[in-house]
């Protein structure tokens, strides 16, 4: 395939010999504008105006959709079952494949030398989260686990076993933590939140049904015991058949071991602080009751 030297080359050369492009010369591409169908006008649109011949069709008195002439219609014959019951209360997690994560790291959009947070993924435009549509965060899917070669400290909301194994095989750290919808909205778009001038709220704990998930060590939950997590890491390494690399001997060990506090939303910012964006200042509460509340 011969590569042209200039992308608009030939067309620009042709333009040199054509008359000047003026306001009178512009027109849309042929076929871009199609005339709309107008009923009841002219030889083809007129007469019965596309309604057919006599009867309920032409007169517009057909019964409602689903009516079967009096026979019990299909949508009433079939008994109800709660397939979609409570669908608007079910938490959804946006999937993130390891292949996409590797792609983002390779292109330099995500920095593997810093802890990878949902904010970092969104800043890299890696994925889109809609907290108002019952999204509770991101889940890690093990689609590209054989290609994945990156040592990262990543924090997601859900992860499959294969994804956990792939990350730990490369010497990384993975944590599952919970964000309630308000904290999630703040985490995704920090700048509009800071412009509001409200103090950073504390992250709420998960609900009853999600507590066992975040307390189990197999899922690397943030509420689990660190020793149990170490045992689970060894068990997973044995199950998937790889040697578990020792993180404590790594240069980035300090960064990899960074984890957020249970009530913290951002690294380095505690709940209760107010950020002043225009003057670039942070205001911290001094009242005893507030400090007690925010540190509970």
């Amino acid at each position: 395939m011969s590569f042209p030297k200039k992308p608009g080359g030939k067309a620009l050369d042709v333009l040199q010999n054509l008359p000047r492009i003026t306001l009178t010369n512009l027109r849309p591409e042929p076929g871009a504008r199609k005339n709309e169908k107008r009923r009841g006008r002219g030889q083809h649109g007129g007469n019965r105006s596309g309604r057919g011949h006599k009867g309920e069709r032409q007169r517009g008195t057909r019964p409602r959709l689903g009516f079967e002439g009096g026979q019990t219609p299909f949508y009433l014959r079939i008994p109800k079952y709660g397939f979609n019951e409570g669908h608007s209360r079910r938490p959804q997690y946006q999937p993130l494949t390891l292949k996409r994560l590797q792609y983002l790291i390779d292109l330099g959009r995500v920095d593997p030398t810093q802890p990878i947070d949902l904010t970092q993924l969104i800043n890299a435009r890696g994925l889109t989260i809609q907290p108002l549509k019952r999204d509770y965060g991101v889940q890690l899917v093990d689609e590209g686990s054989d290609i994945f070669v990156a040592k990262i400290n990543i924090e997601v909301q859900r992860a499959t076993e294969g994804a956990i194994a792939a990350i730990e095989r490369n010497g990384g750290v993975i944590t599952n933590s919970f964000y309630d919808p308000i904290s999630l909205g703040i985490l995704i778009k920090p700048v509009p939140f800071f412009m509001r001038g409200q103090p950073i709220p504390k992250r709420m704990l998960p609900g009853e049904d999600m507590v066992p998930y975040y307390m189990s060590a197999e899922n690397r939950g943030y509420l689990a015991d660190p020793e149990e997590i170490q045992q689970a890491r060894r068990a997973l390494a044995q199950k998937y058949g790889y040697v578990l690399p020792d993180i404590s001997k790594d240069e980035l060990c300090h960064m990899l071991a960074m984890r957020k506090d249970v009530r913290q939303i951002f690294f380095g910012l505690s709940p209760g602080w107010v950020i002043n964006m225009p003057e670039k200042k942070i205001l911290k509460p001094t009242d005893q009751k507030l400090l007690q509340y925010y540190s509970s």
Binding site: F3, K5, K6, P7, G8, G9, A11, L12, D13, L15, Q16, L18, P19, R20, I21, T22, L23, L26, R27, P28, E29, A32, I122, N123, R125, K189, V191, P192, M195, M277
Partner: protein, 282 residues
């Protein structure tokens, strides 16, 4: 000029006559002695070569070009998408339009509440009100209803591409000229007109500078001229570029335009409105 070669006084020349002296100056060749005043700031892709143009002065009427400039091909040599030009031009015309045309419906026309005559017995056609659309003086059934706005926004990148296409087509048809700055020696309009005529730039000229403050001389000279207009670089738009035959940019304007128009090629999508501060965008 003798009387034989002078044009007769009752001859009317059409306005779209092409000036035969216009295209006398070819684009600069590879080996020209003039210095390269400006190189492109942004990094060029490997497969593209910059566009070269002459740089003129407005100081004296018959001066030689000062030097050469390199223009970024992704701004001044993009594919001439005339359909984008048409879309941006219609958008510019229509998005400000509010049509105040309004008619009264049969319920809004004064009167017409009473049945004019009995349903049966009078021998005339049956009517319910004297202001129905069938009647003279009655309401309009499907007329324009009150102020209507034709506001719509084309995507930002389409509008940016429209500017790039307009600049490229002006460059390709040799209506775009680069000048070092807009300083002229005298505030005389005649001087400007003779300069434009001697250089065969065209009938209407658009002068673009970066800042909103122009030198006094050029302000006075263009004040009473209809066909020669000044705009700052922020006000550059497709409609003005197409309306004026020639577009004159200063070197600062070229730098400004390249910087602003090339940014949109490699930027992330906006997460929140641009008015809120971004740390990684300008």
């Amino acid at each position: 000029v003798t009387l034989d070669t002078a044009l007769p006084p009752n001859l009317r020349l059409p306005s779209n006559l092409v000036d035969p002296d216009r295209l006398k100056r070819p684009p600069p060749s590879e080996d020209s002695s003039l210095p390269l005043i400006r190189k492109c700031d942004a990094a060029l892709p490997a497969h593209l070569s910059p566009v070269r143009t002459w740089v003129d002065t407005l100081e004296s009427k018959d001066s030689e070009p000062l030097g050469l400039t390199e223009l970024h091909p992704d701004v001044f040599a993009v594919t001439p998408r005339l359909d984008i030009l048409h879309a941006v031009e219609t958008w510019q015309r229509n998005y400000k339009r509010i049509s105040h045309a309004s008619t009264k419906v049969r319920s809004e026309v004064r009167g017409g509440g009473r049945k004019p005559w009995n349903q049966k017995g009078s021998g005339r056609a049956r009517h319910g009100s004297i202001r129905s659309p069938l009647w003279r003086g009655g309401g309009v059934s499907h007329g324009p209803r009150g102020p209507k706005s034709y506001y719509y926004m084309l995507p930002m990148k389409v509008r940016v591409q429209g500017l790039k296409v307009a600049l490229s087509s002006k460059m390709a048809q040799q209506y775009l000229h680069v000048v070092d700055s807009l300083n002229i020696p005298t505030p005389d309009s005649q001087y400007l007109l003779e300069l434009i005529r001697s250089r065969h730039w065209g009938e209407s000229v658009l002068l673009v500078d970066v800042s909103e403050e122009f030198p006094e001389n050029i302000l006075q000279a263009t004040e009473n001229l209809k066909t020669v207009n000044l705009i700052p670089a922020i006000g550059l738009n497709v409609h003005s570029m197409l309306k004026h035959e020639a577009v004159i940019l200063t070197l600062d304007t070229v730098r400004f335009l390249e910087e602003k128009l090339l940014w949109h090629d490699e930027r992330y999508t906006f997460l929140y409105p641009l008015k809120l501060p971004y740390s990684d965008f300008p």
